[in-house]
Amino acid sequence: MGHALEKIHRLLKPGSVLVDIHPTPEATEIEVRVGAQMHTAGWLHETDDYSDYAAADEALAKVVKSGLFAVEREGTLSFATYADTLAELRDYLTEGWENARIDEITLARIEELTSTPERDKDIILRERVRIARLRPI
């Protein structure tokens, strides 16, 4: 990661901008929307990506400390992924998010919330994502 940031520094013109977007090492919240009602169902847990996200934070902090970049602004956003059904969500996780796990209590809660006759509903993964604007020095 450090080498990547050094290379990015080399590619940037003086006075230019680096925008970094990456997830925070926080569990992803799972919500279920049924009509106009939003319900918290539980959490999606990851078995190894958290350490990657923490390492990304550390790599950025290191290049800032070394004087390669200066942080001009930072914040967080809520990145949502919508699925219509639990089966669809499970397929999505199996294909592209192998280390994700939904515990039994959360699964039961999702099934309970989505078993209503209401047809207008979504299952929503909500990730907390960090965004930062950095200036090469």
Partner: protein, 97 residues
Amino acid sequence: MPIRLDPEDSEATALLDFAGSFAGKRVLEIGCGDGRLTWRYARHAARVVAIDPDEDEIKAALEDRPPDLRVEFRAVGIADYDAPDAIFDTVILSWAL
């Protein structure tokens, strides 16, 4: 309906806010995936190079590319991406660190 990523538009909105104007800028996007974010700013930039080591994602991006957008997609990671020094005004690291 298939899985929908960021239908609330939070990421693109934050990117446009944090990056400032793309007008006339030369932009490198690292970790572009299927171009989900690329389409949101590329129209305004002077030149966009979007890279990702996943060839399938780059193939998907090329298939989905709006015909009026000129984006140079490359299936390569940042470590192997070859370019002269100091040529970009904006670099976007998109879930790539």
